[in-house]
Assembly symmetry: D3
């Protein structure tokens, strides 16, 4: 039975209703979100056996976060609990030309305080097919970086496919290490990389004239990399984006069709939805073109769904790939 | 005094808030909807004396459904009550490329259990000018089909104009009869037909190369038909549709201008709004072109209104026909 | 320290939720709005020292209106209180081709009953740099017109820049005077006029073949006028407008770029947001082009914000002027 | 077929959510209320044929007010429409020791501007059994007082039972007449009076040592009076009241049992609910004791229902009279 | 590892907000509820390994019901899916003297259509310690009664403790069998019975002068019964109940202290909360007095919690048993 | 002009709606609260010139917190801004026997990181009459304790009355100092102490057999203390408390009447409301009995008001002191 394990922080998500500004809101929508957990939930909704590893405080909001994962069928066995706080992010949903804004309040969270003694990766990864991490985790704290390195190392030793979303978050990396101190060690044990030219440069120093050349250079430098994927987004406005995807298969870059996303409901987590779609496609043995198409359709659909997670089924994604029933009223 | 009578089931409408998926919603908007009742309410809001015939359970939600009709001025004198259940439909309002979805839960409702002894059409139709039915009613149960046939037969005998929306719902028709067993008998006592080529084929077997030829064939086969109208919709997305209308006047097809409907608020009931507009125009003696234009503007406006019914006035529809004050801030 | 003073009525704003019609709403959003106060609040949010002069009833809703101003930092020292009622406006937010609608209920309000003895303009305007009024105030009552005239006269005597939004509201002007009885006296003590050709004709009888010629004629007739600004709006639908701005600098008309505003959240107060942007730019010594660009960007952003007031910062307006971060997700 | 007609103003009711204060609320519940219309609606819900006479503005909120009456089955045939405003009342729902508060904004409403030429009482009262008015109507304006006098005079001439709730509202009576100028003329054509000793003194100058003696004096002075009813309320807190009722049958005072009303949901309209219960009992030929018991139970139940109107059935009132199923979970 | 399995229908719960009547509500709270599943969830929240067996439709609301169980950690492995409908119950939350009301709409549900071939109880009950059923299940359909009989028979054969809540629902039992045809066969394989004298008589014909004598008679007739528990409720009003509990230990009746429950938030599911508390106490080896005290405290706390399930921890129940921190503000 | 200055942290308050548990809530009410700021706002609403000193982050939620203070008229001139986080508290509002619960998330906030160089107390306290602090501030961090000590020292030097609420929060005091290291130094510069025997012992080691004796001992040990006040609360349940107040006037203890508070809306901030009432009474020169009575009535009323702050007027408090209009419907 296929099993995917993801690692990363989950925060309380508090978002203003509709398009209200922070200074207008009298209440906030409460949910939970975190890049890697969003991937795990999307995969679970696709029917894939998925588990998530993280740390939560002992209090009721920690319980609520676990219930969020359980509700969608994600295995929470290896989540640790502590007396620390829970990370929070506050979201103001923009509209038209006005940008959306996130205020992060995630320092000193239970996840930031993890250490390698808390997780036995040989046990966690037993029977697992795929492990996924992102560049957020090593940016949070030395402990989180250590845990991430343990995980990818153990995964590679066990022959598990490792994917990494190497996005670089400038506001993190405040614990004394720089991105280039840490990321290369993780990337060299990663098989599927999500990232673009800017990420390559930030994380590894690799630069090139084109995405394809950068990918070639990355795979030369990090031979474990089998594929590199990326999405390119144009923001016409907060309500209207366009997005296309690229997949480097080790030799060349395949491009997806471009999606035109007007009337965006929630832009957060769309990259995670793409990632989950890609993992799904690869687990199911799709061709690279098919996997990219599936990932793009999954990512596009996420823009229509409130909160962080992509609550769409495989059937819905496949219908969009085939352009069936787009925007219909299905009775 | 002009009076229009409609016949058909009204269901409880339970819709998720905003664009939430069924699995996200902690509450649901509660309203009522049913194709033919939507037509009656729209006509009542236009100032036409209208009544609706249906059946509800005795309990408080049945009372609430009657209040829904009364609120807008629809005569509820001939509604029967029973101990059966109320049909329900659950609506998830899509967005962007994600389709809207309806889960029907309407079997064994009070309306499905009607029988011809419950309705005295000679009394109900006294003083009435127009009777409207749809293809949903005969698809529900033998009892409902019988009642519908009684109604159209009596109406024709009394010289009342009969309109029928002959849409074919594949998920209904589960009581042992097929659509072609029943519909021809109803259509041959109908003067104004709403339907397209697919409906003609499903209901009567008539096929042709074009809508105009199909209409000609329909009127040959069913001489009672005076006019046939239809709308053609393009779904760019759940949030953006385009729609145009056609009216066959017995000889040729007249086409309306095309409406571009971006930022759709609620797509349900837009066909009923079109139908009510058409009946209004015909009752008021509009030319075919004018009646079609009025119907199209009414249908377009409905896309901007939450819930099933088209709460717009004649003045608002006429302004859109004339392209006056479109999208203005009227003080 | 720069100080702007505005004068005008503030009404209770009661708006239907989402796009519900008046006949559908079971509750209403409660806020406050008034053209000139909207300008003051926007300026206060920009960091400008601003005060507003008006009249409210003694009751708790009057208190709430004062709290609305104080919340955003507007000085409320010179607001008078009486036993009269509070003006109200009811707003139905349109969508697509359906227009938005306002029902005004503002007669006999505390503001309508002001008289010149209530306000000591020499005291109110001490240390003030800019005074702003609009054509709504003199249209309400003789008392309000008197107070407005006192204010502009005192302001001009004290060397304070006076701006006036000379929009003509046909439904007001019911106290016995006509617009041309009153407005010329106010305009001739005004330095910055906001208005278009229709306003010029309504208020002063000035007509011309083009906006530029009309402006030239206005400045000939009213030598105190230094600049005239105007916005031109195209309503594709209630959800989609286009807007461009014009500034007559005494000799010629400068035009802004055109903004395309799809997915409009709230159109009310967008002109006031433009006005506040213009005053900000002029107070800060921007060139005419820069001031117009700032005003336009401020006005465009307001379309994305619920309720009357433009809760955007100078940084956000400047970013839109430079087309930076438009519609991004800012973390 | 029994028919009750009531006369009086209906206002827009805007209430803060839960127990929020006016200065806290970001939205308001919207409904409609007016003492006499509340009586009519309660009677209609009891199954009595009832109609209401009033005046509304032409705008959409006037339409909404009519829909409010129609929803519950009240006949709205004789409602006039004008270009005047709609009365509004703002409600802050207290809790515990904190009182509830109403801010009235009802001057110059469409109803205040009625005049006797607008209503043909001979037509309106044709086939009517009972007419009900309250002391609010003659307190509003000369026109309203005139209309009320016409109505009661015509009703008495036609042999229709007239009931009047002679409550004295100190804040009204601002049009030049005093309560004692007007009320005696109305009371002398009234058969069933609702009021207590304070009302008697305010309206007619009658004083006495006890309620019974005051009633005797009232019937001596106004021979048309057949019965006088009153309720006596003890406010332990906004959330907890006690209430008992008294009925003077022409000779002596009958007392009801006392209701203990903890956990009050909405206290507004409870007197109107009592009144409707009394009229119902009398129309149905109940004994005085029974009618009073029915009225009290109706009034008590209203405290559990949000908004102005008493949405309870005859069966529910009768069950409370018999103390059956009190506070149970009925499946 | 202790495991409890429960069997029974779960319905969609649609409840009016606050204390609104069915005819007032514009939306409804959406949740899920069913007596036996409520027991399973409460046990899972207490930390007991629990699973629930039922049937749901294939559609998204069936998915949502499963997510409801998973969220709280209940095992859903043995839930079957079909194309049938989902049972619904509509709840109007009473207040004061006004009763709460439930409208059931549960006929022909997926659960009503189960048959014995769908469930392999030898597999389902492997490793299980306790099985719980209620009198609702055999009342729904022959299929449900068969499945229930299979379950208790298998459980008894496997030495598993069986508890049964033998409440008699008069509105069910419509499939041709009477309660006395079916219930004795189930009770004779049950060890812990929840029920009172009325239930004994309805289900088995046993009558006696006191609860204790009735219990003695029940254990004589059904030797498998080890204990009988019951709660006795006094409804002062919908907002205020009193409740005490009784436990027959095979020889005598033990009584709990009485709880005074003012300010009730939600009365639904309080019996299920009591049941879960009792099972918890018995599983943990509490004395009968302790188990009853724990069950009563659990049941009392449920009255403070919205929706069907008792979201309280063991620590909270124990604190109430000890009367610690009752009604405090815990920081 | 009287001016009161308060010092202390303000946190984001996020509370579950109604009585929902943390694990049920899909959204949270957003407001702001902090003991000392609650006192300042209550005083401002009473018409007292009040200012608050604290520290907020630079981001929009910091702006919103400032707007919260400004809205009610509190001077925010001396609030500092930093790049640190904002403290948060999560509130679950209990009901009946279920306790309310607060989860604090306040470590490392902008306020916790203040230091004495940030505040010039000679400037801040110029023209000030009263300074108020609480035991929370010195418990947060060394910096906060230092700032508090500076403030009270400067205040005493300037002859300003100092009040201190010396409540001991066990969960704070984590920065290395114990409560007895710090509190005595603050208390010896305080004139009005709020606290009970437990606080005296925790903060200073003073113990005695009665509150009066303890007060005598406190004033002997800390001669600056002029008065000591305390409230005693009995929690019947979360929905029903009783409270009485005591004031030690230097010689003996005066007791207030006891308030019975059923149907509690929000218990948070009731002690702050009491404190504000006491300061108001003392500033206005009330006798000790009057000041205590005013404080108690203010505290009792707060239980009826949602969120942290006591939005009641002096007139309302005085009416409750006199037992006028308690729980009435004021029109």
């Amino acid at each position: 039975m296929t099993k995917v394990v993801t690692l990363g922080e989950i925060m309380l998500r508090l978002s203003t209703p509709g398009h209200l500004r922070f200074t207008q809101a009298a209440n906030m929508g409460l949910s939970f979100g975190g890049s890697e957990a969003n991937v795990a939930i999307s995969l679970a909704v696709f029917g894939i056996n998925a588990g998530h590893v993280t740390a939560f405080p002992h209090h009721d909001l920690g319980d609520a976060a676990i219930m969020h994962l359980k509700k969608y069928g994600v295995d929470t066995t290896y989540i640790t609990r502590s007396d620390d706080r829970m990370g929070v992010y506050f979201l103001e949903n923009g509209a038209m030309q006005r940008s959306s804004r996130i205020i992060y309040d995630r320092f000193d969270s239970a996840f930031a305080k993890v250490n390698r003694s808390m997780f036995n990766w040989n046990e966690i990864l037993r029977g697992v097919t795929w492990f996924h991490w992102s560049g957020i985790t090593p940016a949070i704290s030395q402990g989180a970086a250590d845990v991430c390195l343990d995980a990818v190392t153990t995964a590679q030793e066990m022959g598990i496919t490792v994917s990494g979303d190497i996005n670089y978050r400038r506001n993190l990396w405040q614990y004394g290490k720089s991105v280039r101190d840490i990321m290369p060690g993780l990337i060299q044990q990663t098989n599927i990389v999500i990232g673009g030219s800017v990420d390559f440069e930030n994380c590894t120093g690799v630069t090139a004239d084109s995405f394809e050349e950068a990918c070639l250079e990355m795979t030369r430098k990090f031979p474990s990399i089998r594929k590199i994927v990326n999405t390119k987004r144009t923001s016409v406005s907060s309500s209207h984006n366009r997005m296309k995807g690229m997949l480097f298969d080790g030799q060349r870059v395949i491009k997806s069709k471009r999606y035109n996303m007007t009337h965006i409901v929630d832009r957060v987590g769309t990259g995670d939805a793409f990632m989950a779609g890609l993992i799904y496609g690869m687990l199911k043995g799709f061709s690279d073109e098919q996997a990219l198409a599936f990932a793009m359709a999954a990512g596009a659909l996420k823009h229509s769904i409130s909160e962080d997670v992509n609550l769409v089924t495989v059937e819905e994604v496949e219908a969009l790939v085939k352009e069936e029933n787009v925007g219909k009223l299905l009775r």
